[in-house]
């Protein structure tokens, strides 16, 4: 394929990845920002979202579109509720101690992953997308002394992939509105700044924490539901997703929601575009080392302030 169309395709594919990553990573970032908890089980919440999407779509009738909308609502709710439960029964009792919560969430990671293995099984299962039209994209070429439109082989995207991008943008805007405009967002920000003072002012910090943990989980689950018509639900899918969203959160500056989204774009697009120039495995190595070096030389992340 010519270079131009190739780059275009890599960018589009990167944008889909960036959209999913941004959703997932903003959940992780929210939890870290407000609660100072590193949730290692976040990838499994994403996996649970995908798996519940499969359950819901296989039991709800009325065509793929209806079933998918049902999954879009039900799966994040269930996963969010599970996370609230985990917060109340485990994390709260650890008093959100940073190291112990990491260990506890590694434990939760295995519990969720293995219970899925016991119930859902070890197969990768597909979910039918609500719509999926292949949209070919034209390209301009200078030929015979004038610009000509042509349709390069393979330059295309599907309507569902476009929908994923749009849906992620809408949800992220919603989160931003909630944080800045609503009362609950205000309470969250107050707990984030100084949980003891917030408590003293009568803010129910414990309930805020449970809610934040639930919302963070629901965002991961939503990312899982959105990806599952493109990929398949599999009990081990959480691992790589966790790595990527960790990277995004750190690069973006821990706890900074805006930085997280910019970093998701950066990582998503570079994953696509670096693979244009290098052999695939080499591209992965280069991308991985680059990210590590960014952290080494700018530990506060690209967009984080020094204060954190």
């Amino acid at each position: 394929m010519d270079f131009g169309p190739y780059l275009m395709l890599a960018t589009l594919e990167g944008a889909v990845l960036a959209a999913v990553l941004a959703l997932m990573a903003s959940g992780l970032s929210l939890v870290f920002g407000v609660m100072r908890v590193v949730n290692v089980a976040h990838g499994e919440l994403y996996m649970l979202g995908a798996v519940f999407a499969w359950w819901v779509t296989s039991f709800v009738g009325g065509g793929p579109a209806v079933a998918f909308v049902a999954a879009l609502i039900i799966a994040p709710l269930i996963v969010g509720a599970l996370a609230v439960l985990a917060d109340i029964t485990i994390l709260k009792r650890l008093e959100y101690d940073p190291e112990r919560t990491i260990v506890a969430t590694i434990g939760l990671l295995y519990i969720m992953q293995q219970v899925t293995l016991m119930t859902y099984g070890a197969d990768a299962r597909p979910v039918v997308p609500p719509f999926n039209t292949r949209l070919a994209i034209p390209w301009l070429e200078w030929a015979d002394g004038g610009l000509q439109v042509f349709w390069p082989w393979g330059l295309s995207i599907t309507s569902y992939k476009l929908f994923v991008i749009v849906a992620a943008v809408v949800v992220l805007l919603g989160i931003r509105l909630m944080m800045t405009r609503s009362r609950i967002g205000l309470l969250m920000r107050a707990s984030q700044l100084d949980s003891e003072t917030a408590q003293a002012f009568g803010i129910p910090v414990e309930r805020i924490y449970a809610l934040v943990f639930g919302i963070g989980a629901a965002l991961a689950a939503l990312a899982g539901v959105l990806i599952v018509p493109i990929q398949q639900a599999h009990y081990l899918m959480g691992g790589d997703a966790l790595l990527l969203s960790f990277i995004v959160v750190i690069i973006g500056g821990l706890g900074s929601l805006g930085g997280t989204i910019v970093a998701a774009l950066l990582i998503g697009l570079s994953d696509g575009i670096i693979s244009v120039f290098f052999s695939p495995t080499l591209a992965k190595i280069i991308a991985t080392i680059l990210v590590a070096l960014v952290l080494v030389f700018r530990p506060q992340g690209l967009f984080g302030g020094r204060a954190r």
Binding site: M1, W153, G154, T158, M237, D271, S275
Partner: protein, 430 residues
């Protein structure tokens, strides 16, 4: 604690008669062997390394079902040397370290007579040294070239499934003469994929074709479209092979990439093993070709043996479980378990195997096997076993997607799969 299963034969007049038949056969054995038979009624224990968890789990499930069915059939026929067969199953987690531990467990704790195993090459290669040291015969169903390459040891054999080198080189003549000479290969960027890359590019060049581009996909990749633009325009045939949980995404995105104008496509069924051909997004595969170790869909000229095999394992004519039409089998590989267990039976019977002290005799007996006829014990087809390289050779199938089913288009004969020996294990001491 381990999951064991012992299928006791139903006591009926018919099976009693069959058992008698075996008794008559036993009379042909040397005296000491009959004596040994009479001495022990302990079951023969076969340790089964199963990919119950990890990325190989779909294969593990079907390898398990096939092996259980084979053991049931062997026991219904009177067992081996008059003894029942018991399968001792342990999960290897599709992990070479756990695989080696499980082999140790078979040898030293479960007191298994032999070990029998598994698909993923890294598990086999990680386990084989331990099997050799523990002097435990280790029969693998992995299709890797590791056995015949000489990397392993005298105790490791692959008598039930042809290796990847044979499979790949047997495909080249068909691809070059029917599909095209300019091939782009897409394969996973690890050893299994590299075997495909190396053996196929050599074989297609021998046919006057060439590989115009090689696209190696990094492991654990979950989205693939970004790699496809590397496919050159001049490509006449796409050759694809993929493994792991993301195979369906891979094949689907390949279709979305090409849209209405695709080149010829030839794939290894590994890319869609355990995946329903009717999955959404796979419609474009109509008219493309697949290598299959054993055709998933019952063919028009289905043999009695295949019919019997399907019924015993519980697979319908579309290659799905008879209990759940969505549960697709790994039909192209799992016959290897059935055939391997029957080779173990044949080897134990001709060596008069009575217990672990006869393990080297068992190996020698299996090494002595050459021609294996098409039969109920070997439903995939006739085979040729090479005792020196411990590797079996058998015919390979190419099927074409026709009305959503895989219909046989070409059968590559055993002669297409042969290559010069790379090792002589019989020269190694026990």
């Amino acid at each position: 604690m381990s999951k064991t299963s012992e299928s006791k034969p139903p006591i009926s007049r018919r099976s009693a008669l069959k058992t008698l038949g075996v008794g008559a056969g036993a009379a042909a054995l040397p005296m000491w062997a009959r004596y040994a038979n009479a001495q022990t009624s302990e079951p023969i224990r076969i340790g089964f390394q199963k990919h119950a968890t990890g990325i190989g789990a779909s294969y593990g499930r079907w390898y398990d079902r096939t092996s259980q069915a084979a053991v049931k059939m062997i026991n219904a026929g009177g067992g081996i040397n008059g003894r029942m067969v018991e399968l001792v199953t342990e999960d290897d987690g599709t992990d070479p370290k756990r695989g080696a531990e499980v082999v140790e467990k078979f040898a030293t704790q479960h007191k298994c007579d032999v070990a029998f195993g598994t698909l993923f090459s890294h598990v086999v290669i990680g386990s084989a040294p331990r099997a050799g040291e523990l002097k435990l015969p280790y029969f693998v169903v992995s299709e890797g070239h590791h056995v015949a390459s000489g990397m392993l040891n005298r105790y490791t054999l692959q008598p039930g499934i042809t290796d990847v080198k044979s499979q790949v080189q047997a495909m080249a003549p068909f691809v070059a003469s029917n599909l095209g000479k300019k091939v782009t290969m897409i394969f996973p960027d690890f050893a299994f994929g590299h075997d495909h890359r190396d053996y196929f590019s050599a074989a297609i060049e021998a046919q006057g074709g060439e590989v115009v581009q090689m696209i190696a996909i990094p492991p654990a990749e979950t989205s693939f479209t970004k790699y496809f633009p590397k496919i050159p325009r001049e490509t006449e045939v796409i050759y694809h092979v993929m493994v792991g949980p993301a195979v369906l995404t891979f094949v689907k995105e390949l279709g979305e990439f090409f849209g209405p104008s695709r080149p010829e496509i030839f794939g290894f069924i590994d890319s869609l093993e355990a995946v329903d051909l009717a999955s959404p997004g796979l419609e474009y595969l109509e008219g493309t070709y697949f290598w299959e170790g054993n055709p998933r869909y019952a063919q028009a000229d289905q043999s009695e043996y295949d019919k019997n095999f399907r019924a015993a394992v519980g697979v319908d004519e579309n290659g799905a479980s008879v209990n759940d039409s969505k549960d697709i089998s790994t039909y192209a590989h799992m016959f290897g378990c059935w055939e391997t267990l029957n080779i173990i039976k044949a080897g134990m019977e001709s060596s008069g195997y009575a217990g672990p002290q006869d393990r080297s005799k068992l190996i020698e007996a299996v090494e002595a096997i050459t021609d294996i006829p098409h039969s109920n014990a070997h439903p995939q087809g006739a085979k040729l076993f090479n005792g020196k390289t411990h590797q079996v050779f058998g015919q390979q199938y190419i099927t074409k997607v026709t009305n959503g089913k895989l219909i046989l288009a070409h059968t590559a004969g055993i002669e297409d799969t042969l290559y010069p020996d790379e090792v002589d294990y019989t020269k190694q001491s026990f």
